[in-house]
Symmetry: C2
Amino acid sequence: MDQAEVSALVDEVVEAWNSHDIPRYASCFAPDADFINVIGTWWRGRDEIEQNTGRLHSGPFQHTVLTLTLAGFKEIAPGIGVAHVSTLLQGHDASGPRRTTEPRPGIMTWTVSERDGGLEIVAGQNTDILSAPPPPATGT
Amino acid sequence: MDQAEVSALVDEVVEAWNSHDIPRYASCFAPDADFINVIGTWWRGRDEIEQNTGRLHSGPFQHTVLTLTLAGFKEIAPGIGVAHVSTLLQGHDASGPRRTTEPRPGIMTWTVSERDGGLEIVAGQNTDILSAPPPPATGT
């Protein structure tokens, strides 16, 4: 597994998302893939990922544009890797842990596996990047 | 890799956390492990995981009690597995995406690898489980 293969998977996910081609998006995942979204909901299997992503793209994500950047990658066994992917979601209705319409930066971990002709996501999790607030004021 | 090995790792993480033994906690991770916390901060390597977890246990997590439940597990290659672990954090100061002192349920993905005598976490990510809000009212 080399970084070019991981980058190709990142590109495929972005192109599928931004063309709102949900079957193409779902096909980036293994049939038994797990995905945890930004509010901690666990989708089990490619079918659940496809149904729920489709539901969102018919609603609050209808006009979204997703930008992904491969931020890190390591092969942990032959044909198995862990990738960290920086995300930026724009154009959404109020969504995410803060229910915001502002651009939402995030970070995903993908565990990926080789299959014929490329890689597939075996497990993924996405978290919005939120600033830690300052410590509380200590009074006057 | 079998489920008993994963359960042993879960138990070790819980015992280390709840006794606030941060070196013991950090030793559950591989030296080059990655961990994404609930606000999307990426800790790279066991040392960063240990420093940051220690900082939290000297502050808002000083009196925390963590409950973990192994919710799912699959071996994806010889000696490599993906575990999903349900979390419940209690006893903390205001923390998490909602800055709450209420108990915080969450879900983690761990990618784990065999090492001498057990398993270690190669990559982990934690997300608080938040309820999706109801759709906005449509007016009167």
